[in-house]
Structure formats: structure tokens, C-alpha cells
């Protein structure tokens, strides 16, 4: 009985104050829309060799597997790579964790590394080595992988209005996601990125910030001047594709 009385009150408060506004993600634009010119080389070239200061590069090669499970090993990745085989997420790699088991039917596959450089190393013995991206030997089941295609991604500067979104996701790889929402009155809001992998966000075509699931900080402040009355549009570039279907607003910063 008590429950019956209390619940509407609790529900009211939740809806008014505690429950964050949720935004449904509606459509995806494939990452291939922001591909820049492909560079081909025998070995994987670092960002420096590709003349890229920071951002994202897709490293791609064809593999031929003999067994269902093979060990992938890298010599260097700076700073973070999301690994896909035929568009299916296999896992992530960083300089602290440079091996990954690839699960795929024996045969020919496309192996893709989406590599992000987060920032410059500024301490420790590695300090003199300022290479970024993927470089050195990459091997699968002990065999060195060669014949790389390197495709820089124009994530930061690509005109968002030119992206073509499709309602049904065509593949499981990285991409841009879109969500639209009517604003609930709120003086200060944060976008809660909990559940998303790594990427960047724009609101109403203005850059809002970046996120990464490995960080404790899981929210991005939305400056009130970025919000418009009526419909607001979010675009999220997601590198890892955690299959998120929605995103929420929070009145306070979110840390895990």
C-alpha cells in the first residue's frame, strides 16, 4: 500500500529532476564519406610519415587466416587503435596492450585498424620518440603483415551538412550517428557519453568535444549558447561502435 502511494511521487520527482533527458540515435553516416587520399606502402607508416599532426587514420590490409583464432601483435601503436575484421569489432589496442586475438573463419579477410592519436608523450624515457600512429612490425600468427593502405580520416573538418545519413546501419564499423531532440529547460547541461567508445560530438554543427570510455570523465559540457529553442541536432563520430542506441543529457558532470 505504501508502495502504491509513494511510487507516483517518486516517479514525478524522477521525471522532473533526476531522470536525464534521453536522445534517440537515428541514422548513421558511414566513415568512408570522410576518407582522404589513400597512401599505400609495404609497411605501416606512422602519422609523422603521413604528415599528419593528430587525428585518425585507417590502416587496412588483407589477411589470410589458417585457424579460427590467431594472435595479432603490434610493435607500436600511438595512442589507440580499434580493430575490425570485415567490419566486425575485434577489440582495441594501445601501447600498454599490443596483442589481440582475432576470431574469424579461416580464409581471406580485411583487417582494419582505426588509429587515434590522443596527445603527445611528454614524460619518461619514451619522450624522445614522438612517432604517432601505427608503425613497426604488425604480425598475425607470427607472420608480418604487409601491403598496407593508410587512409586519413577527415573527422574534424569535414562539413557535417554534407554527410549522408542512412536510417539502417549498413555496417558495424565506425561512423557518424545523428540524434535530434527538443530541449528541456536546463540552465547547464552535460552530454553523458557513458556507454559510447571513443569519438567526438557536434551540436547544431558546432564542435562540442571528445570522449573516450577509458577516461573517468564521461560527460561533455554543452555551452548554453550552443542550444537552440526547438529542435537541436547532435552528431557523434564513434570509432569503436559500441552499438549505442541513445545518449542522455545530465545536469551535472558525469565521472565513472
Amino acid at each position: 500500500m505504501v508502495k502504491a502511494v509513494l511510487w507516483p511521487i517518486v516517479a514525478f520527482f524522477l521525471s522532473q529532476t533526476l531522470m536525464a533527458q534521453e536522445i534517440k540515435v537515428e541514422g548513421k553516416a558511414s566513415v568512408s564519406q570522410v576518407y582522404k587520399k589513400t597512401v599505400e606502402a609495404e609497411s605501416a607508416l606512422s602519422f609523422n610519415d603521413l604528415d599528419i599532426e593528430s587525428g585518425y587514420v585507417l590502416y587496412q590490409t588483407e589477411i589470410n587466416t589458417d585457424t579460427e583464432s590467431e594472435e595479432l601483435e603490434l610493435e607500436n601503436v600511438r595512442d589507440y587503435a580499434v580493430v575490425y575484421v570485415d567490419g566486425r569489432l575485434q577489440g582495441t589496442l594501445s601501447d600498454q596492450d599490443k596483442t589481440l586475438t582475432i576470431i574469424a573463419e579461416p580464409g581471406k579477410h580485411t583487417l582494419q585498424f582505426y588509429v587515434e592519436n590522443i596527445g603527445r608523450i611528454t614524460y619518461g624515457p619514451e619522450i624522445t620518440d614522438n612517432s604517432k600512429g601505427l608503425f613497426g612490425t604488425v604480425s598475425l600468427a607470427g607472420n608480418e603483415l604487409q601491403n598496407w593502405k593508410m587512409i586519413p580520416l577527415d573527422v574534424r573538418n569535414y562539413p557535417l551538412k554534407d554527410l549522408v545519413f542512412e536510417q539502417k546501419a549498413v555496417n558495424g564499423g565506425p561512423g557518424f550517428y545523428r540524434g535530434r531532440f527538443e530541449l528541456n529547460p536546463s540552465s547547464k547541461s552535460y552530454l553523458n557519453m557513458t556507454g559510447w567508445g571513443m569519438g567526438e560530438v557536434w551540436l547544431n554543427q558546432k564542435y562540442l568535444g571528445s570522449y573516450w570510455e577509458e577516461e573517468k570523465q564521461q560527460s561533455i559540457l554543452i555551452p548554453s549558447e550552443h542550444l537552440i529553442s526547438g529542435q537541436n541536432e547532435l552528431v557523434i563520430f564513434e570509432l569503436k561502435n559500441n552499438q549505442q542506441k541513445k545518449i542522455s543529457l545530465s545536469p551535472i558532470p558525469v565521472f565513472k
Partner: protein
Amino acid sequence: MHEYKISIYKYVKMICVLGLLVQATLLKAQDVIDLSGTWGFQTDVMDFRRGSLSPRYNHVLQGTIKLPGITDDYQIGYQNPYKYIDRLTRKYEYMGPAWYQRDIEIPADWKGKKIFLYFERTHWLSSIFVDTKEVSSIDYVSVPHNHDLSSFLKPGKKHRITICIDNRFQYNTHKWNHAHTEFTQINWNGILGDMKLLAIDPVYVEDLQVYPDITDQSIKVKLRVNNATKKQVKGKISFAIAGTNYSLKNEIALASTDSVTYVETNIPLGKQIKLWDEFNPNLYRISCQLTTSDGKNSYRHEKSTTFGMREVKQGKNHVLLNNRPIHLRGNVENAVFPKTGYAPLDDASWERIMLLMKEYGMNHLRFHSWCPPAAAFRMADKHGIYFEVEMPMWGKDAEPDEARYNFFRREIKAILKEYGNHPSFVLYCNGNEITGNFDFIEELTAEGRKADPRHLYSGSTARTRVKSDQYYVSQQTNKGAVKVYEGQPGTDWDKNVESDVDVPVISHESGQRCIYPNFDEIKKYANSPVEARNFEVFRDLLQKNGMLDQAKDFFRASGALTVLEYKAVIEALLRSGKSAGFQLLSMNDFPGQGYAPVGIFDPFWDSKGLVTAEKFRQFCAPTVTLLRYDKSSFFNTETFRGKAEVYNFSNSAIENAKIKWWLTDTAGKVLQKGTLKKQTIANDSVSPVGKFEIPLKNISSQKVTVHLAVNDTIKNSWDIWVYPKHQDLMQSTANVLYTDVYDDVAKRQLAQGKTVVLYPSPDKIKGRKSLFHNHFWNPIMFAWAPMTIGNLVHHKQAMFKDFLTSYHTDWQWWDILNHAKVIEMQHAPQQLRPFIQVIDSYDNNQKLGIGFEAKLNGGKLLVMALDTKNDMDNRPATQQLLYSIDNYVKSAKFSPQVAVDETFIQSFLTK
């Protein structure tokens, strides 16, 4: 240890007549034996304790040393034969246990007292042996070591006190932290500052913390009273608070029934109490006199501290001090003290630095991965400088290691307790660029916030954010980069959007522009524990490469570039009103990590003579006039458009400000002038104050200066360059051949004794990229291309007759240098000096150039490694330089003196 609730019997308050000096007369309640002077001494590189054989404390030590001091002062240690390149070389290296010994007679009247052995600062573990027994060891880094020897010293008896100071790393912490690094101060072994044996009554004030409440104009005083008598005591605590024209007394009763009693009391201070801030650093001193009795014996003890009435809070984008936003104009302080090899413990040394900060318009110091001694806080309290202090923590120090974690857990508490009362202690951060387990970083940060709300807290600079962060020092936020390492030729940009996150954001390690070393500094190390042997190596290499006579010019030219970069960097961060401030790296040189001469001061805090304090304050001060404009180089058909702003983080708004702009030529003659609307300029913000336009037609002096002033007192200025448009540049004549290839035509022209201007496309030239900026930090640590540190322009030579330039590059060179290539010229004849000479990394010192002239095969040759083809309609300075060179090569003044052979020309051209 138990905590007992105390009862306060009475509460007495009296305010003394203002101006009346109240001298508290105390009974002799504390005895001190000053321990400075000669001590027995012995090194212990074998660490005899490990073998359990003849540890040093069993013997009379054979050598002597004077304390306070360090082993380096007495040439103790490994006489260093090396010349370190990446840092100053410590002449006598010592890292290991070292033993210090003295026989001390404990006064008989110390019976029943607590006896402490106190060292103000030591590195890093101090262990005390009384006679032959180890009785105490302390491993704090940031605070004094205060050994309680009460149970081990017998009053009336002579004891042999042997001290082991072990400056080895006691925990596996990062080796670069500035408390220990050989890169700045050295990892010394010794005892510094105040060192004494003191006896106090057994009922004493162990801790005194003062928490100001500026709203109530009161202080909360928290005391920890220790009672070693094992008896119940009763008595009173008398407070005396004094400041300029201020005096107040207050008293509370105390009853203590156990070993530790916590006392907390609020003391209203009255309306006349003044706040503390950078503009009015009003200080007060509180002394607490404890008088107790157990019915038989009575005890007295006095403890005092300085405090300031100020509160620190987290604002939206700024640190709030006394509820007002402050903007931090700061320097990264890295414990650079080559004169002594250790951070000074005396007031005068620190006062000098605080006064320099003030003189150069700064209000903030970040102590990077270390915490300074009390004298630094005292002088910052006195002069109004805001500190950020840190533990000796860096890099992977947050990776799991329970012993190391426990060290940091102790250290943070010790820092907060030891220095927490200082009003200058505004910000606390655990350390620099930390990686590892951020649950641990969050734990420390949250604990700090809970323990002491007088400071704002941050988990780590420039790394993962944590929940308890109250501010964030970083190169970037999740909104983008907030670092500013270099300027731009236009100024219409800022870091507002990137700085606007959930906490105030301070731009981390801004600046870092490398200057060529000044070899004159070598002689300054004669009496230091370190020497600039790397400078000797660099100097010898420059000499070998035939350019020693240019060392000073390289220093001056790269230094001038750093100054103009710092002006641009600081102004960009002042335009960023949503930034909480910046920390420049740095005002003084950093003599490690490869050696980074990025300062306008040398490592001794002596000016390098590159910029005056007055000039520096024009762009770094509480109030600065700012100007936004698109570019620095113009055609005289264009109009200069300026958007004026005033950065005002002073202590008041500027009422009815008169704002003027004017334009002068190089002779200082006013060419044009105007005023902006008279207005009141708000405080605590960056305000747009108006726009103005200056048509640039009829300007003939090439370089002009735009000035902007508020009330004729707050002035700033910016150089811009104005050029005529040129058509049909680089036209060959019968005598002068312009060619982008060195081919048979060119060779024939030269063979005829005529002139060739060779201007290969930069992509056809081997060699390094050309850049406007000098190298970031230093080219030894960050060995990334192009490893150059600016340019020396031979500006008095005739090819620059129609192109106004100084010996150093300025913003008009932006377009020229960013579209050029650097020719490797080390194998050209030694006498050949390029007229645009690129300054190489000082550990390489090769001759480099962008433009040079020479005799070749009987003809006259001028080579320019510049792009002269792309987008020339928008490159006024490049046009003007080509025009000037054209006039030169077609004049009788063109007469190269040094002959080169063809192989040199071929050496830098791609096939």
C-alpha cells in the same frame, strides 16, 4: 591515541586598543640547541648496514662537514669526469647513505620535557641513531623532519647522535620530479635550513590550523594539543592576533584527559580585519599560548602562525578568491637553483623571485612536481603570489605500488598540515602528467578536499580528469587544445571555447620557445655544484664549424624571437577570458631534459637582456590592452582593422576610461590617431571596447606600430608591415638571369662573368623544412624536425636595403619562412655566411641558410630557397623581399666575395 572531547570553561574576548603593541612575555618554556656548525662525517657508498658489518654509527666518524650544507659544498662524492649534454654536470655526484655525527650533552633541566630533533629540509630518508641504537626515521620530501627523541635522550647525559641521510630513491618514483631530479636542483645529500634540538613542555600545541571565514570576519582555529604527562591537565589557551594596526586577544579554557586533545574555536575578528589578495596581501599572526597544570606541575607552550583572510572557491571558469574571479598569470617553477644545487631556505632568495614575478606582471607560480620550503610561502604571502604546489609525483607514479601509494598518502597530509595556513597556498595538485590508476588519484584528491578546504584540488596536470577536480591544468580539455606554444601573425583567436568545461582550466606549460645558449653563462658556474659543461661542448662544436663569432648573434636573434612569441602566447591567453589563466614554461631557463634555454632569465634568475620588465608588463599585467587583427603584413592598398579589448583582472573597474589608438612610423612619428568611445571597463573580465580602421595608403615606412592605450597609463603596441604591390618581379635582363634550375644556360651566364639568381622550388632543394618558430622546448629532448631555433638575418647587408628587417625575424617573415627550405651549408667555404642564416640545434651547430650569395665559375650567384610562385598576390612581404633582392642583384653593390664550386651547388639540389 584517543580523542577526548574537551570542555571549554570560559570564553573571554578582548580587543586591545589599536596601535598598542602588545608584547607577550613568556616564561622560559622552550629550549633550543642550534645544531648548525661542524659535524663528524663519513660517506658510505658501500652501505655497510646491508652487510651488518661495522655500520658507521658504531664508530667515531673520521671526517667533518659543516651543516646546514650538502656534500657537494665539500667536494664529496664521485668526481665527475663527464660532460653531460642533456643537463648541467654535477661536479661531485653522491647518491647513497651518508653519516653525520655529533656528541651532544642534553641539558639536565630538560627532564620531563619532550625533545625533538628538527631538520627543515633533507633528502630523502633521515634516520637517527642515539648512541648505537636506531630510534627514528622519517622519509618526507616536502616538509621538515621532526624526530621525537624524548624516550631516547637522557637529560644531563651526553649522547652520541648519529644521523644517516640517504638520498637514494626510497620508493620507485619518477626520477624527473623536481624534488629530486638532477635536471634542475640536484639530488643532494645533506641537511638544510633550520636544524635544532628542542625541548618543550610535555603538554604542547602539536598543530595549529587557522580557517578564515571572510563572510563572518572570523577564524576557526583548530588545535591539536598533545599531553605526554599521562595525567589530566587543565588550563587555558590564550590567543593573540596581530597585524598592521590590529591587535586582538582571546582566551579559552582547556581540559585534557588523554594524550591527544582536539580543540576548535571560532574567533570573531571584527570589522577592521582586512582581506588578503594579490593587490593587498594583508597578513596577520596568531600565537597560541597554552598554559596548563596537572595540579602539581604547570606547563607552558606557544605556537604561532601567519594567516591571511581569504577564501578560495571553484568558479565557473575561474578560481574565485574572496568570491571574485582571479586570472592566473603564472610561471612553471621547476626548482632551478644551480647556484646552490638546492632550493633556498632563506627569505631573501625567495623574495627576489616573488618580486621578479610582480615586476613582470605575474601573480602565480606552479611548483611542478615539488613543494617549496616555508620561505617561498612566506614571501608569496607577503607579496601576493598564488601558489600551486604538488607532491614529487610524475608519470607512472600512480601505477599500482602500495609502498609508493602510502608514501604519497603521507606526503599529501604532511604538505597540507605544514603549509596549509599560508594564504598563498591557493591550489594543490598531486603531480605532473600522471598515468596509472586514477582511482588512487581520485582517492588522494578527495581526501585532500575533505581534509582542508582552504585550497582547490586537482588530480593531475594534463592527464585523466577525476571527479574531485576543482580545476584542471592541461594542454587540452575534451573541447580541444588549450595549450598555446606559439603565436600567429594574426591575433583574432583565443581559447575560450576549449577552456569552457565543468571546472576552471589553466593552460599548461605555455610557451617553451628555445633560445640559443649564451656561452657567457659558463663562467657563472665557478662556485656552483654544477657546471655548464654541455655549453663547452656546444661552444667547441660551433668553433669547429667556424661560427663561434656568431654565438652571441644566434643567442640574440633566437632570444628576440622567443620574446615576440611569448608576447603573442600570453596575449592569446589573456584574450581567453574563459580561461582561468596560464603557466608559462618558463621565465627562467630549464637546465635539464636536454637543456631548454627557453627563459628570458638564465638559470640564476638573471635577465638575459632580451626584454625589459616594463615592456613585458605591457602584455602581462593585471590590466592589459589587447588588439585583435587578421594579419601582420599588408599591401598599402589595404585597411588595417583592429578590434580592441581590455583584459582587466585588477582590483577595480576602470571608470570613464579614455581609450586611444595611434599609429607611428619607425621614427616614432604619429601618422594617424583616434579615440574609442569613453566607457567604463569592467573588472574581472576581458571586455571588447571598440573597433577602428586605419587605411594604409601613403604609408611608406614599411614597419609601423599600432598603439592602444587606456587613460595614457595602460599601453600596448603591435608592429605591422605595409608594402607596395609589385608587378613583374624577377625579370631577367642581359646581365641578370633568374632561373629555377641550375642548367647549362645558368652555367654559361656565370662563365660570362654575369649574374645568376637561382631560386629552385623548395621541393627541389634537399634539406630541412623551414619554419617561422624556433624549436619547442629543446632539440635534444624533442629531436623532431626541423631542429632549428630561429634565424639570424644579416640585416645590414645591401640585399635588405628595400626590405626593412631587424637582425631577428619578426612577423613579416612568417610567410617567407614558412614557404622556404633550409639549405645545409656546412660544406660551403667557411667564410661564406648566408644572408638569411638559419640557427641550427646547438648540439649540431651546422651552417644553414635560406639565402646566400657567392662567386661561381667567374660569375655572381645569389641563391634563394624560397617559394616565389604560389599565391604571390597575397604575400606582400615575400614580394617586397624579392623586390629588394632584385634591386640588389641589378646594382653595382652586388659583389659576392666568397667563391664556391659547383659541387656545393649540386649538393643541395635534387636530381
